[in-house]
Symmetry: D2
Subunit: 304 residues, 4 copies
């Protein structure tokens, strides 16, 4: 298959969508990103890499970080993590807090904010220095030391992230955070602030298309069975209330972030990362979503 | 791979679960089914068929019928069907009516009761004799004329299906049913009453593992893209509020019914049907769920 | 106190509000009512009656009928009625169905539709001919034989009242309707279709300002304690999601209907009825609400 | 009426209920209160005071403080306060957070925690030293300087009041808190920690039975119309999800607190306070609720 040609065709095609979305501006730092950018990186399991457009530009991975902290917690603690967080899609965003109340503080899944906070709390309990460990893990997965927190973004989110504070205290009131809310949020805001390029992100996703083996050093991070489960969670829960829409249109497990990035994979075949900062109303990258839909259509391959 | 051996091993293994579930008894007819039964049929895309246990016993397919009426409506009306029904998972069962109210009568997806009623309403609008057409479609897909409605079951559900009447009138109040509620429910109760064996059901699911082509006559029912979407809907919405759990544990698109049947498939590879009438609290077959989890684990194959 | 003067002043004052509301048109018959009408009748406990404007014009009492069927059921069955319906305000209209689901089919209170259906079901169980008995009860309370059902309105509501059918079947699915849904709804649509004038309605409310004694024949309908409770229910639940607003602004127990009528009372002092068919967005009479607010302000008397 | 005799009879009667409830123990300090205590103070508008039992024992007024901060804000800011908080009952406790989300951060009423936080935020914005002003206001209303914060209780609540922190940050995320969440909560936890005796509390409630005039100095705190409204809010919203039950059984505007106190009044006639620390499951005093029900029954007087 001529991936280079396909990606090139996709890039031309999606350019017409510039201007339909809006760069996230709920924190000033994120709003400074230039809108008309688009990067695409395909990383095949055999090691071949195809890059296109702005795929060497760093962007804020935001919620995509939840997949990595989940993997880290899963590899450390195994099935025990599912005692404190579910694996069900969350339905509408609208219901999230109510569901949390109805379900006594057990978040529906680890990829919504409440669930990700519980996962981060696990890491805080298990590491002396959780921020360093998370960074180290991301560096290992992406095969480069060149991964950093953006302290300005992290500070910005801490200052205005009232809803995350609300979630944190709500979880705490149910006894589902073991550490100080402030401490957990500090780590959480940092993990969201990590910056990566499409190339780095696609590399970091290789572990999931390799059934849990990190291909650069050959280290097994997750068992095959765990990886199957993690991919399944991405498939059903990776896109907030567009999970169904994304599964429906794209058919790949993946995760999006409000920085405009989307990471996805086809088990046994490839991982990929796409980035374009203009978001639709549900907070997913306009060009990114379209690019992935085109990619699975043009390649004729998806999990379905 | 020695499928025969794997299925045999699964059968031995799940037998220990007899007695953990309970046969559905909300209508007397369903409650008459003998509990300790288990059937398994694997139908490979190359035509090979592996059967085990009670796979030639007829059972009530119930909600599995929703997949077939959805396919029929999708093949007739194309993308227009998504104007009246969504593709998002429904979150908790608890929320279903509220979501319907919040979303102004547009059901979250076509595999919950409300969505299936809307799909059935489409068929009622498009066919002179919808009941005959549905039966005809099922006979074509399963490659046998030996598919019938169970009029006793249909009558029983009509008599006690108050909640479905409630849903129907609720949809009608939002203008999302075009036909008489009574008429739509009559067709709906009939489609749920259809009886099939595991062998027949596995055959009928072949169209989805064949990317939309019905393999017995070679007729294309759905385009490849439509089939991808339909499989995606099954993956995210096929198991009520256990959709995530099933995706997580099994990793195949599928659909369950309160008759104890589960149908599933691996795109491009196989379809299968499993049946055992004892249900867990969420209405899914206890032995069936376990059998599928073992099957994807032992074969090492799933969509993820 | 010069009530005549006060009512006259109110009438002048509210005339400026004509055109701000909209006559209910969800059934054609109701929509035929001429909009610019206003009637007011004050009935003191000493027997004095003050009428103003269109107070001899018949209008559809609609939901105000719920107070009377509740009284009838309460007088027949006593405290037992509270096993099947609560006494709590319903919060937002938006939540009504969810609350019904959450609370297993026990409606929050007898003045929302679901609760009123349960009350009507009780009357259907207790009377050979519930429609005749309800009419008889209303004739006794209002002191006139000139009270009738409007069969055209009742038939109209039966034809389009899908949401009430949905509620009925939903209650039935929880086992909280003993009779056929169709039969209960037939009685319910009839009770809503009753037509009264402001004068007749104010008379019919006298029983509540007389602590349960119907003053025309001196018959005790409800005990003092029961009447206190019934008035309390009107105070907290009589105005759907404007219950608080009405209590706040007016401070009298009362009940409104989409026909534009509002009935209210001051225990031990008077009952009153006001009618004007133009409704605000929440379904309460625009001029009626304002008139009552002015009345308690100008008289300086309310329950608070 | 022989009030002394009635109160004495009530006291004997309710003693049989000791042991049915449980002292609040969600913070250690509150849990230290001896359970078998009961105090009752009736304060007639003519100045006569009837006390019984433990009516000179200080207890934590907790949520009853919300009525006083609301009065203070209402007297300062007038109708503007209703732009930021509603006057509708909140339905079930279960829904509170969802309603807040659905209604974009506008709490249903000022007597639920979320609404009280918004009111406290107004006081923080309007006073240099809000804690001193609140205490001063309570001292004026109760006619004694002997009113203090309990710093131990306040500190205890600050340490464990995760849910209140969650509410505060949630309101902040909607822009409905102007000040720092920490600062608002500090004032809020202090106001809840105020300790009063039944006698002092009954005195402090006199302003509401005197239509807004504080009777000790003759100063007008609220207009007649404002007082009517405030009493109405207590009637419909004063008892969380037992508001309807209390209105139904007692028929007086009032407010309860988890310290076991209940304050209530009959406009134009009297105010009263009852206290007994054993609570029912909804957080209201078991003996207190029963005592008030008996009081309105035996006196034959209520607002209805």
């Amino acid at each position: 298959m001529d991936y280079s040609q396909i990606i090139s065709e996709i890039t031309s095609n999606v350019a017409s969508l510039y201007g339909q979305g809006k760069v996230a501006d709920y924190i000033p730092e994120l709003g400074k990103v230039a809108p008309r950018q688009f990067g695409f990186c395909l990383h095949l399991n055999n090691g071949e890499v195809f890059v296109h457009g702005d795929s060497e530009v760093k962007f804020s991975i935001q919620s995509i970080s939840k997949v990595f902290t989940l993997s880290l917690a899963f590899s450390l603690l195994g099935e025990d993590i599912w005692k404190r967080v579910g694996v069900e899609p969350s339905g509408t965003a609208f219901n999230s807090l109510m569901q949390l109340e109805y379900e006594k503080g057990i978040p529906r899944n680890p990829l919504i904010n409440a669930g990700a906070l519980v996962i981060t709390d696990m890491l805080v309990s298990n590491f002396q220095d959780p921020k360093t460990e998370i960074l180290q893990f991301l560096r290992q997965l992406s095969g480069t030391q060149n991964i950093q927190y953006n302290e300005t973004i992290a500070a910005s989110e801490r200052k205005t992230g009232y809803r995350n504070f609300a979630l944190g205290y709500f979880l705490k009131s149910f006894g589902n955070l073991q550490n100080d809310v402030e401490q957990v949020l500090d780590v959480y805001f940092h993990q969201c602030s990590v910056e990566m390029t499409c190339r780095e992100l696609a590399s970091a996703m290789q572990v999931f298309s390799h059934h849990g083996m990190e291909p650069f050093t050959g280290q097994r991070i997750l068992s095959m069975s765990q990886t199957k489960r993690l991919n399944a969670v991405m498939q059903t829960c990776g896109f907030y209330d567009e999970a169904g829409e994304f599964t429906f249109a794209v058919g790949l497990p993946g995760k999006s972030g409000v920085g405009g990035g989307i990471a996805a994979l086809l088990p046994g075949q490839y991982s990929l990362a796409v980035w374009s900062p203009e978001l639709n109303k549900k907070g997913n990258s306009v060009l990114g979503m379209k690019a992935l839909e085109l990619f699975t259509t043009l390649t004729g391959r998806s999990v379905f």
